[in-house]
């Protein structure tokens, strides 16, 4: 059995165990033998904790893989899936639905977020054009991200009631609270398609290890790769934001933890990063549920609190190479 298969199996088993743990964990500890009683405990498991764990699995896997692909594409270990502006576009869509008070159905907000993500992807493809230029593409993403961020802030400041603005701010922090099977249903298809696109890009990402010119000489079509990245990152990250809000640092941190285990190969990084991302989100979500605080700490905040020291440590380690 090859090293890669072993690594993926290990991570898959660990993710499975983490899911089981997260089903038991919470304000009320529900042991395994109470899961199928048909009583209140089993209802909590099937209608609250299981969908929540599934959302965690999907979002973690999406962000982990999108982060690994972004870092490979930009050949920059500091790249984050939010860099293309897709997550802030999706957030803008969601915030707009909160701003206008469209809350008739719990499906409206994720729907608006997906429209936002699609709008972001459209704008990005128009801005970057068909050049296949990586610099232009990234720059467009950064500009898009800054524009949608500004519009989001505008909506917060113009919110009709303090309640609406606080609702927006809370939503933006990202969490897995009160997720239902509907959220899983909304996100699973775009995420699956996005992951297929990213996996499809794998060998092109490997070729980019030697730079754009060499990659092209190896038969890689950079425009084709640009479309794959746009679709892959757009669908995975857009759908993630739609169902959980913005959860930072998973996409940045996870590929770093996995990279040494796959000898730094960009394509070999994709699948293990998805597993490790899922593992991290599920564990972190279990942790925020167990933490003895008055109200549950938002997962987005917990992640950033966890991620920032890591980011600093990374910079500290890399400072000799950068300086």
């Amino acid at each position: 059995m090859s090293r890669a298969v072993k690594l993926n199996l290990t991570l898959a088993v660990a993710t499975g165990l983490a899911m089981l743990l997260s089903l038991m964990a919470g304000r009320h500890w529900i042991p395994f033998d109470h899961w199928w009683g048909g009583d209140l405990s089993s209802l909590v498991i099937m209608q609250l904790r299981l969908p929540r764990a599934c959302v965690g699995l999907l979002v973690g896997a999406s962000l982990g893989m999108a982060g690994a692909a972004m870092q490979g594409y930009l050949r920059n270990p500091l790249a984050d899936p939010g860099l293309f502006g897709i997550s802030s576009s999706a957030a803008l869509g969601a915030v707009a639905s909160l701003y206008f008070g469209y809350v008739a159905s719990p499906l409206i907000l994720p729907f608006f977020a997906l429209i936002g993500a699609a709008g972001g992807m459209g704008a990005l493809s128009l801005l970057a054009g068909r050049s296949g230029s990586l610099t232009l593409f990234t720059l467009s993403g950064v500009i898009l991200s800054s524009l949608t961020g500004a519009l989001t802030s505008l909506l917060i400041s113009l919110a009709p009631t303090p309640f609406a603005s606080s609702e927006i701010v809370t939503w933006l922090m990202g969490a897995l609270v009160d997720r239902s099977w509907d959220d899983v249903r909304i996100a699973i298809l775009p995420m699956a398609l996005g992951m297929v696109a990213l996996l499809w890009a794998g060998r092109s990402l490997d070729a980019l290890t030697l730079g754009e010119t060499t990659a092209r000489s190896l038969g890689i079509d950079l425009r084709h790769l640009q479309w794959l990245m746009l679709a892959g990152v757009g669908l995975t990250v857009g759908a993630s934001v739609a169902i959980t809000g913005i959860i930072g640092f998973v996409g940045l941190v996870v590929p770093h933890l996995v990279r040494p285990l796959v000898c730094n190969r960009p394509s070999a990084l994709l699948v293990p990063s998805a597993f490790a991302g899922a593992l991290l989100v599920i564990l972190a979500d279990s942790a925020v549920r167990i933490l003895p605080s008055a109200s549950e700490v938002r997962l987005g905040i917990a992640m950033s609190a966890l991620g920032t020291p890591f980011f600093l440590a990374l910079l500290y380690k890399m400072r000799r190479d950068i300086a």
Partner: protein
């Protein structure tokens, strides 16, 4: 099957970088492109590799225009050793060489044929012992050999190289030259950009001199590398000596003007 540039003109942002370049290169021979800085040598190499689309004229591989080939087919037939090939991720040397097989291998990774080609290429450039070393930790010379093995692993019909001797110490320069000669002897067409006139004179079957985007001269080294050419194109006086092996040694000794 030859590689030809036919009235190749390349314009970028209103600036004509190559103007009406016509050349013919044969498989099994070494063609060396020389010329002053900014003459358009690297752009010419990119056009020959099919990476730049000519503004007018054409690059043809046998009877086919390069533009009519699929990316993959072109990549199988023409290998490019780029001058600025930074290694962005610290992958193992063997994984790096394996990248050369990308145009050949299927979606599911390298098969036995690919593995054999990778091993053979690494043996050819004497870097088998480096297989599991992280590529970024290799010395400049070792990296040069691994990158050359990467191109050879693709078993191209044509090997285009932009200054393959840059960053190599004398012994590795000599090894690289011998290796490229070997490659040509095995039937591959080798085309490279060089700066060192002596190296060019020693390895080339055909020397192509590019000046201000045009072909100033092309032919066997003895016929092309004349004092007049050095004065006109390179604006230097060159001292010509004959080495102990009977081949020329060209040393620029002063400005011509």
């Amino acid at each position: 099957m030859d590689l030809r540039a036919e009235h190749l003109t390349f314009t970028r942002r209103g600036r004509t970088i190559l103007r009406d370049v016509s050349l013919r290169m044969e498989r099994g021979t070494v063609s060396v492109i020389i010329g002053p800085n900014g003459a358009g040598k690297s752009t010419l190499l990119s056009c020959l590799a099919g990476l730049h689309i000519p503004s007018s004229g054409d690059v043809r591989l046998g009877n086919a225009s390069l533009g009519s080939l699929t990316h993959r087919d072109r990549a199988r037939r023409i290998g490019l050793l780029d001058q600025k090939a930074d290694i962005h991720w610290n992958i193992e040397a063997r994984s790096l060489v394996a990248l050369g097989r990308l145009p050949h291998q299927g979606r599911w990774g390298p098969d036995a044929t690919d593995e054999a080609a990778i091993d053979q290429a690494m043996a050819r450039t004497d870097c088998v012992h480096l297989a599991h070393r992280p590529a970024q930790q290799l010395s400049g010379g070792e990296q040069g050999r691994v990158l050359l093995a990467r191109v050879l692993a693709g078993e191209p019909e044509w090997l285009l190289a932009d200054e393959p001797l840059a960053n190599l110490d004398p012994v590795h320069q000599i090894d690289a030259m011998a290796c490229l000669r070997d490659v040509a002897a095995s039937g591959v067409g080798v085309v490279m950009v060089l700066h060192d006139l002596t190296q060019a004179a020693r390895i080339a079957d055909q020397v192509i001199v590019i000046d201000q985007g045009q072909v100033a001269a092309a032919g066997p080294p003895d016929a092309v590398l004349t004092p007049d050419l050095f004065g006109d194109v390179f604006r230097v006086r060159v001292h010509v000596d004959t080495g102990p092996d009977g081949r020329p040694i060209l040393t620029p000794i002063g400005r011509a003007d």
